[in-house]
């Protein structure tokens, strides 16, 4: 693959992604012309206020409701697929995902506890659920990693994946037990677990955005090491990479990305699995390109899924987790099996 070809593909992808984002912001229950849309956006960014001739209602709908939602979907999709891409590389397992180490089950347990006990800390007003979900998600991952390091000094991939799975199932068990005991809240919990971008505002974006930027930057710095580590821990060690340390740090960063996404939007599957694989097929295995492209592809895919989730049955909403799985699963299967057949 020539450098030039890759550059062209990146440019096309970026344009496509921008187009999808605009589409996601524009489509919905009310129609807006591109001119008005850009008028509203520039009015807010420059602080001049909404241009004349645009109804204040349109302004609230697009600036306060739809834009943060679409951007949130984009960021979460990006965060999930980047962390998925890293996990697959770090654990040398094509089926590894952001959720392999139990972030989602931990976060769900945290959410369940908050919903059941109806706890609220005034300081966290409105952020209680995401905060607890995030903390519980991270605790689960840290627990899984420490267990793995205790059992296996080299922290081999098989150990990590197995412990992650066992811990996930265990934590899920606790959560199911709790939700059976307190069935009043099970519907709310179920809705939370299905994931949604509805009613997410700028305040959520403002927290997610810096976290994404910082985590992404750190992961980009380790992208070279990740390339080497995809050959296996032994080879990596031979080439001077401290596999264990890199693995632990990168996994924690990935979990941070996943944790914060799950905390804000619920458990949304498939994008973390599908997007990186598609990107690898298009751009090759180098993580310097795979990571940013995963972000773009994952983000665009999620923005598109959210668009579908809110428009297909409007005014009803389909949980976005269901949409990603419905579209993602067959697509992923296609990509996976198509490449197998070629190999055979």
């Amino acid at each position: 693959m020539t450098k030039k070809g890759t550059g062209l593909k990146i440019a096309i992808s970026a344009i496509l992604c921008f187009f999808i984002l605009i589409l996601a912001i524009r489509q919905g229950s009310v129609y807006i012309s591109l001119k008005d849309l850009f008028g509203i956006i520039s009015g807010h960014i420059t602080g001049k206020g909404t241009p004349e001739g645009i109804e204040p209602m349109m302004d609230s709908i697009f600036w306060t409701i739809r834009m943060p939602r679409a951007i949130m979907a984009f960021l979460v999709g990006g965060a999930l697929s980047v962390s998925g891409a890293c996990m697959q590389a770090l654990l040398q397992n094509p089926l590894a995902s952001s959720y392999t180490l139990g972030v989602s089950s931990g976060a769900s347990l945290g959410a369940a506890i908050v919903l059941i006990l109806e706890i609220s800390i005034p300081l966290l007003a409105g952020f209680m659920l995401p905060f607890t979900g995030f903390v519980f998600g991270l605790i689960t991952v840290v627990l899984a990693l420490s267990l793995a390091s205790v059992i296996d000094r080299n922290v081999s991939n098989t150990t990590v994946v197995l412990i992650g799975m066992i811990l996930s199932l265990f934590v899920n068990g606790i959560m199911n037990f709790l939700s059976t005991l307190y069935s009043d809240h099970s519907k709310q919990l179920y809705l939370w677990m299905m994931g949604s971008f509805s009613a997410r505002g700028w305040k959520h974006c403002l927290i997610l955005f810096p976290v994404c930027v910082v985590c992404f930057a750190i992961l980009m710095l380790t992208s070279r090491k990740m390339d080497i580590m995809s050959f296996g821990d032994l080879q990596a060690q031979a080439m001077g990479v401290d596999a264990k340390k890199t693995k632990l740090v990168a996994i924690v960063i990935c979990s941070l990305l996943t944790g914060i996404s799950v905390a804000f939007t619920g458990v949304i599957g498939f994008v973390d699995l599908a997007a990186p694989h598609v990107v690898r097929k298009l751009f090759g295995p180098s993580h310097r390109i795979v990571l940013p492209m995963s972000f773009i592809y994952g983000g665009a895919f999620m923005a598109l899924c959210d668009l579908i989730s809110r428009t297909v049955l409007s005014p009803r909403e389909i949980p976005v987790g269901a949409v990603t799985a419905l579209i993602g699963a067959p697509f992923f299967a296609y990509v996976f099996f198509a490449s197998r057949r070629k190999r055979a």
């Binding site: 009310v30 069935s183 009613a199 909403e317």
Partner: protein, 349 residues
């Protein structure tokens, strides 16, 4: 049976006359007709004991009812008002609101996953269940039904007429026909009184309404409301208001964006569990240009009254009417209780 038909016919006549002019005043004028058939009828008001429940299942109601289990608050409320509170041996946990009107040792069961063994152990003569319990067509009470207990299912009613029929059904099962007729006809008469006022609302003053059962937030992202084919939609129809989601069908979960776009004149908050819900809606980001919020027409309504499908929805309808059209309904003095008692007196003579 003939006499029953006479009573029902008379009442039907009453209703049709009442809708023509003022429902409440006419009721008293027509009382003579009622009295002539009412006097000694009560002993004979034996509308046949139903052989099918409201869901269409075959049931065999025992002749004598001494132990009742009610698995829905709306039914529990009706039974208590029928004067049967002391016969209730078991309730669903939501019915616990009425615990002080029930025997001290009344058992409580989960509506969604009832302990059928414990229910059977109480050897009830009849168990009233509701649509809230059945999930995907399977009744969580199946093993109870198989054990031969009379389980009378009352699916969630979708209209005011359905509510009236449900009350008549409960009455027929427990031998309280006179009361049941009084409650259901009382409700019908009361509603026609409200309809009479709504007919006088000029076309250009008709308001659009959104009833929300929660305040949208990141935890409850969608708004629970309803479209046509629900008794709540009919309540809005009766008072002359227009449901903004009236073109949709059934109970709905709509997105925040669609609710804002619908731009209702009035928002009613049907959520007692959330104190200050109306103020929370007024403070929501992005809602400041919605007419109801701009004009301060967001009201908290009593969830207990409107969400239990029995005759009390009449009171709920009046409450909604006074919120939406205070101008037209503020002078309305009709009382559901009075009409109900009136009708009952006429039947009993």
């Amino acid at each position: 049976m003939k006499k029953i038909f006479a009573v029902i016919l008379t009442l039907a006549m009453l209703v049709s006359v009442a809708t023509g002019c003022s429902a409440i005043t006419d009721l008293t004028q027509q009382s003579g007709v009622l009295e002539s058939v009412g006097k000694d009828v009560i002993g004979d008001i034996d509308i046949e004991i139903p052989t099918k429940d409201r869901a269409g299942n075959d049931i065999k109601v025992p002749d004598k009812i001494d132990k009742i289990i009610s698995m829905a608050p709306s039914t529990t409320q009706v039974l208590i008002e029928f004067g049967l509170g002391d016969k209730i041996v078991g309730i669903d946990t939501n019915s616990a609101t009425y615990i002080d009107k029930l025997p001290a040792n009344v058992a409580q069961f989960d509506m969604m996953s009832p302990d059928n063994e414990a229910i059977a152990a109480l050897s009830p003569d009849i168990v009233f269940t509701s649509g809230m319990s059945s999930v995907g067509g399977t009744s969580p009470f199946q093993s109870l039904i198989d054990s031969g207990v009379c389980v009378a299912d009352i699916p969630s009613p979708s209209s005011i007429e359905g509510i009236c029929d449900d009350i008549l059904f409960i009455g027929a099962c427990v031998g309280k026909n006179a009361e049941a007729i009084a409650y259901s006809k009382g409700l019908t008469l009361f509603m026609s009184g409200l309809e009479e006022i709504s007919a006088s609302i000029p076309e250009d003053q008709v308001k659009t309404v959104l009833v929300m059962m929660n305040v949208p937030s990141a935890e409850y992202p969608t708004i629970y409301t309803f479209g046509k084919g629900t008794y709540m939609n009919e309540m809005l129809d009766i008072i002359g208001a227009k449901n903004v989601f009236g073109d949709q069908e059934g109970w709905l979960a709509v997105s925040v964006e669609d609710a804002i776009v619908a731009d209702p004149d009035v928002i009613l908050m049907d959520c007692d569990w959330l104190p200050g819900a109306a103020d929370q809606v007024k403070a929501l980001e992005g809602w400041e240009n919605v007419k109801a919020v701009k004009n301060g027409e967001v009201y908290q309504i009593s969830e207990d009254l409107c969400s239990r499908p029995n005759h009390h929805v009449g009171e709920a309808t009046l409450e909604w009417a006074k919120c939406i059209y205070s101008k037209f309904y503020s002078d309305f003095t009709g009382s559901l209780d009075d009409i109900k008692t009136d009708v009952l007196e006429k039947i009993l003579g």
